[in-house]
Structure formats: structure tokens, C-alpha cells
Subunit: 164 residues, 2 copies
């Protein structure tokens, strides 16, 4: 697996802190399947950089700075997961890819994804086009687009062209 970033650790400590006040190196080690000794080093670094308050043998808590980055990363993660689920990806794959994407996408791209999810959620029912795509992704079968829908798109396209 990819090397973990500060964001990964902040996000994880954030989650673990919901269960227990102080997060121990062992908790993180178990969650990420790495050696506790490695987490000690990581905690020392995160502490130096002001993301966590860390007392050895006692555990770590997020600082305000750490909480900020953790929340931001978790929100990105959740939005990306939702986005991929909308496209018809299965839960596990969506979650894993979201975890990768959350670190690399430009703000503009992330914002577009947020808006994508927002627009779809605003709809009373799942939009036809999305159902159609999802079915295609999941079954390989692509339904024909209803004529009246094609008409709406063409009409709309003409209208906007006239404006310009």
C-alpha cells in the first residue's frame, strides 16, 4: 500500500478518538496493520508539526490544527465515496479509491465532485441518466435513451446556442 500521509493519520486519529479519549500507538498500528514502533515515530513527527498532543506511554489527542485537517479529509473521503457509489461502484472499492483520491485531487476537482453529489441529491428521485449509467456500469446493459428525453436535450442545446 501507498505510504500514509499526515492526512491519513489525522483522519484515523480523529476516528479513533470517538471511541476513546487518548489514542495509543497500538490503536493506530492495529488499524493500519503496521508496527507500533513505526507509529511512535509517526506520533513524534505529528507532534513536532503540531497536529497532535502526544505524551509517551499515555497517548495522543488531535490539536485544533489536527482536527481541522482531519475533518477536512474525512469530508472529502465521504463525498468521494458517495460520488463513486453514484457511479455504480461497490462499497469496498468506492471506499478504497476515495481514500486514495482524497489526497491527490486539486481543490477545483474536489469542488466539482462535491457539486456533482449535491446536484444529484437535490433531485426528488435518482435522475434517469444516472440510473442508466449505473445500470450500465453494474450489468453492462445500456438502455436506450427515451425519445422525449433526447428531444429535451436537443431543444435545450439549440436554445443555449442561440443565446451565444
Amino acid at each position: 500500500m501507498r505510504k500514509k500521509t499526515i492526512e491519513d493519520y489525522a483522519e484515523l486519529v480523529y476516528d479513533l478518538q470517538k471511541e476513546k479519549e487518548k489514542v495509543h500507538t497500538n490503536d493506530v498500528a492495529a488499524a493500519l496493520n503496521i508496527n507500533p514502533a513505526s507509529v511512535t515515530e509517526i506520533f513524534q513527527k505529528l507532534s513536532e508539526e503540531g497536529y497532535i498532543n502526544y505524551e509517551k506511554y499515555i497517548g495522543a489527542t488531535l490539536t485544533e490544527k489536527g482536527k481541522r485537517i482531519a475533518k477536512k479529509t474525512r469530508k472529502r473521503h465521504d463525498t468521494l465515496t458517495k460520488f463513486l457509489l453514484l457511479l455504480g461502484i461497490d462499497e469496498k472499492t468506492a471506499d478504497e479509491d476515495a481514500c486514495e483520491m482524497e489526497h491527490i485531487l486539486h481543490k477545483d476537482t474536489m469542488d466539482a465532485v462535491i457539486k456533482f453529489v449535491e446536484v444529484v441529491n437535490q433531485c426528488k428521485v435518482t435522475p434517469f441518466w444516472l440510473e442508466r449509467l449505473k445500470k450500465y456500469v453494474q450489468t453492462g446493459k445500456l438502455d436506450k435513451c427515451p425519445d422525449e428525453l433526447v428531444k429535451i436535450c436537443i431543444d435545450h442545446s439549440k436554445k443555449t446556442k442561440l443565446k451565444n
Copy 2:
């Protein structure tokens, strides 16, 4: 920037080979803004692993194995770029994010993206929903969904519900 992967190098050598038969360490070094000495090491590794034929001081060419991975990666890259452009992301950002995403996405996710682009390309005109989303991404303005379109979605949703 992120550490480059074998896929990155294969893709790059593939592109450079269009200009000249043998790709020199310097060509890659210049393209990636890294030290030629580093490229020598990379070429040695790629050669050991069978992605390139490499003769020192002479240059490198892709093997069949290398060509295969290069083409695959380039195709992914292009599809991802198109996908992001459809969402309203600008060219530079789309290209950069595509370059990151191409290495990390699961096959299922990549396939969904391919299908997304395919479905949109099949349309006679850019679908209304996509125009609407794109405008929202680029300007922040979200148009109202026409009533007849909402109706189509609701009707369709009822129909599919009945079937199940």
C-alpha cells in the same frame, strides 16, 4: 511531487519514442526535471524488470511488455482527462489529476469512468444534466431543472419500482 511509478516512466518513454528511436536518460531527465544520473538508475531497473531494452550510452526502447503498460496507462490518462473535462474542470487541472488517478483507481472504478465518457459521447448533443452540472461547476450558478425533465425522471422511477 509524488514519486514516479513504472507506469509513469513507461508512458513517458512511449511518448518520447514517437520523436526519436532511442530514448536517452537526458530526455527523461529533462521531461521530469530530475537528475540524469537518477534516470540511469531507473533505466537499469526498468531494464532488469523487462520494460525497456537499455544499452548504456546508447539509449532505451520499450519492450513489448513496456509498450503494453505504456499504452494502457496512456489510455487511462486520456479517458480520465476527458472525464474531468466533462465535469467542467479546466485542462491543466484535469490533466494533472488524471496523471495521479491513473495509477491508483481500481479496475472497476476505471471501467465506470470509461463507461461514463462513452455514454456521454454517444449522445447527439451534450446531455442537459451535464451542461447544467458543468455550468454550476464553472460559474456557481445552478439552473432549475425543467418540469418536463423532472416528470420523465419520476415516471421512470415509478416504472422501475413497479418492476421490482
